[in-house]
């Protein structure tokens, strides 16, 4: 009997849990301004996230999916992408989106129940949040097909969660991308939990990166709490796709430190011990340690950064809360390029029965 195929999955890590440098630093990590930029972005999204959860708890925001613990994975991906690339997010990757120019006000507007939050001023070509699981992976493959047909040196990047890899659409996207050598990168953020279901209950596969194997494309695992490793691995995958070498799959291992969303209570199904252990490996800790060790950071700078982030978040919250509730016309105005006649009639009915238009009601009625 002969072996006709075999595979290996590599695991990449640069910064250890304690901030120790375990592998050669990539070029960007030797640029202190760039490292500080990533750290600031990770801190901003952490501060933003806490505020968003608080807004939901006080009835000023709808259900919100916290990104707590995902900061390295999300910022690392954002920093690796070029502005002209296209992002197909799931619904939690605020660190990537803020890096690419989506505003905190837009994020709050969408999760506050208002479609205007999807109308990003920047980046205009990125996809909006995608709640139906795994469907976005095919959109990214389709966008990559458009780039390939037009011979544009651009890539698409789709996020997916560990649970999402159980959906058929995910396999279909990988298969299509591999068969056509599309310039697309799939980043699986494996945070251990799909609501209440742990990753080991989704699949018997040892890694999710190996899901790439059956599609004939490379798969690699990376420490998703290590922003250097994430940025390096995703950067390599994007450049490989950009020069025509085809797609790849990256599994970023991290941990969902929060509930699934504000509508969830994770204490029903997972132990406090597990969460406590995960906090020891959380992503901000190690890069801060690295910055302190290399003399780039100290307590006063940290305090100043937190103040700066709080001011930015507060300004966004004020802008969000000041938004006037959309008029009922908004339901109709963007449905078609030209509204059919029967819908014009319905638009009048909606106006007639509208509850007090013009009054801002953040968080609902």
């Amino acid at each position: 009997m002969k072996t006709v195929a075999e595979f290996k999955i590599h695991y990449r890590q640069i910064l250890g849990g304690n901030g120790a440098v375990l592998a050669p630093l990539p070029q960007f990590a030797k640029d202190s301004a760039e490292v500080l930029r990533m750290y600031r972005a990770m801190t901003l999204v952490r501060v933003f996230d806490a505020k968003a959860v608080n807004l939901q708890r006080t009835g000023q925001l709808g259900t919100y999916p916290s990104s707590l613990g995902h900061e390295a994975a999300h910022v690392g991906v954002g920093a690796a992408m070029r502005p002209e690339d296209v992002l197909a997010p799931v619904y939690r990757e605020f660190g990537t989106q803020l890096w690419r120019g989506v505003t905190m006000t837009e994020i709050l507007t969408y999760w506050g129940g208002d479609e205007r939050g999807n109308d990003f001023a920047v980046p205009r070509q990125d996809f909006a949040w995608c709640v139906p699981i795994a469907t976005q992976t095919l959109h990214a493959a389709g966008a990559a097909m458009a780039f390939k047909l037009r011979k544009e040196p651009r890539c698409a990047l789709a996020y997916i969660g560990d649970g999402g890899t159980s959906e058929g659409a995910f396999y279909e996207a990988l298969n299509l991308a591999g068969s056509r050598a599309l310039p697309v990168v799939f980043v699986i953020v494996n945070n251990g939990w799909a609501i209440s279901v742990p990753t080991k209950a989704q699949t018997a596969a040892k890694t999710l990166a190996q899901k790439a194997v059956a599609a004939g494309i490379p798969g690699v695992q990376v420490d998703g709490n290590d922003v250097f490793a994430v940025r390096e691995v995703v950067g390599e995958a994007l450049e490989s796709a950009r020069r025509g070498a085809g797609p790849s799959v990256i599994e970023a291992l991290t941990y969902r430190l929060s509930d699934h969303t504000t509508a969830d209570d994770a204490s029903r199904y997972r132990s406090g011990e597990e969460v406590k252990d995960a906090w020891a490996l959380e992503p901000l800790l190690r890069i801060r340690r690295f910055l302190v060790d290399t003399g780039l950071w100290h307590a006063a700078k940290e305090r100043a950064l937190l103040e700066e982030c709080t001011l930015k978040v507060d300004a966004a919250v004020t802008e969000y809360l000041g938004k006037v509730k959309p008029a009922t016309d908004a339901m109709f105005d963007h449905l078609f390029a030209t509204l059919p006649a029967h819908l014009s009639e319905q638009r009048l009915i909606a106006r007639h029965y509208s509850s007090k238009p013009g009054v801002s009601k953040p968080g609902g009625h």
């Binding site: 129940g113 709640v131 058929g168 279901v197 029903r268 509730k325």
Partner: protein, 320 residues
């Protein structure tokens, strides 16, 4: 209502060893709405299984289980996530009995939350029952109270064919009602007359019974008697009860949260036009969701028909 649903599961699992509950987060978490709370503790991980996050898996596996001696009661976490399951429902579950001339069948219940009104995120608030009602070979049921949820779910599980069981999210915790855990099923394929009246018939289902009953009370104060009928089983429709009511009142208003275009209301209107036209004293009115995408929650209450819209439609039928 959500406790009544969990209770019906419990009764039937206790009395029928072939009943198995599957879905996403139905186990340790007890369902995101708690509709399967406590079942895994009581019946174990074989009979209450968390599936992988894959709706086609849930529906397709149900076909396999049901054709081989089990009675799966499957949860699709939200109606907006049902679409990957439709291939299995349309092409297999609904037609298994017919295409095998009765050799194999699919006693499956698929439960899913239905409708809006609770400030949920995108894709969590749609009412797309019409798509399901258009599929031959399945029943579509939508309860509107804790007691009816209990009795109809038992009937759905005991039914030898596939039943889609739509649970209005606005009703999960909207009303408290004592429900006897006595294993008594209610009839499928029958309407429930919730309020009697002689001037107008209002046919509705799911969460819209709340607005319809409020409209009925408001009309009552003006001396207008509204008969409010809960359709309950959306497919097949119990048209006899509706025709009998229209024969008495001469006026029909159909109320639903789903978009108007090709909605279940259109089928009811057509059946009444075919079989009860000469009983009508005024044109049939439909009060429905707009033919738009269900808006995110800032506008959802401008989308869901209001009591005032129902009252106005009733008055239109009386103005002729």
């Amino acid at each position: 209502m959500v406790e009544a649903i969990a209770m019906a599961h419990g009764w039937e699992m206790q009395h029928d060893a072939s009943v198995v509950v599957i879905g996403q987060d139905v186990g340790a978490n007890g369902g995101v709405f708690r509709a399967t709370a406590g079942l895994q503790e009581r019946f174990g991980k074989d009979r209450v299984q968390d599936t992988p996050l894959a709706e086609a898996t849930i529906a397709g596996m149900s076909v396999g289980m049901a054709t081989h001696g089990l009675k799966p009661v499957a949860e699709i976490q939200f109606m907006g996530f049902m679409y990957p399951a439709l291939d299995q429902i349309v092409n297999h579950m609904s037609r298994m009995r017919n295409r095998t001339r009765g050799r194999l069948s699919c006693p499956v219940v698929i439960r899913t939350p239905h409708g809006g009104g609770i400030h949920a995120p995108e894709h969590h608030s749609e009412s797309t029952e019409t798509m399901l009602c258009h599929i031959p070979g399945i029943r579509v049921v939508c309860p509107s109270s804790p007691a009816r949820a209990y009795g109809l779910l038992l009937a759905a599980i005991r039914d030898p064919d596939p039943v889609m069981f739509l649970e209005p999210v606005r009703l999960y915790r909207a009303m408290r009602q004592e429900v006897n855990d006595d294993g008594q099923a209610l009839p499928l394929d029958a309407c429930f007359t919730l309020r009697e009246g002689g001037d107008v018939t209002i046919v509705t289902w799911g969460a819209m019974i709340m607005e319809s009953l409020r409209a009925g009370a408001e009309l009552d104060e003006r001396g207008i008697g509204a008969e409010v009928i809960d359709l309950a089983t959306l497919s097949p429709i119990d048209i006899e009860t509706i025709l009998a009511s229209v024969a008495k009142t001469g006026r029909l208003v159909i109320v639903h949260e789903a978009a108007r275009n090709v909605g279940v209301g259109a089928e009811i209107a057509a059946l009444v036009a075919e079989h009860g036209l000469y009983d009508l004293q005024a044109p049939i009115q439909r009060v429905a969701g707009f033919d738009t995408i269900m808006p995110l929650f800032k506008l959802e209450h401008d989308y869901i028909p209001s009591v005032q819209r129902i009252v106005d439609a009733v008055e239109l039928t009386l103005s002729g």
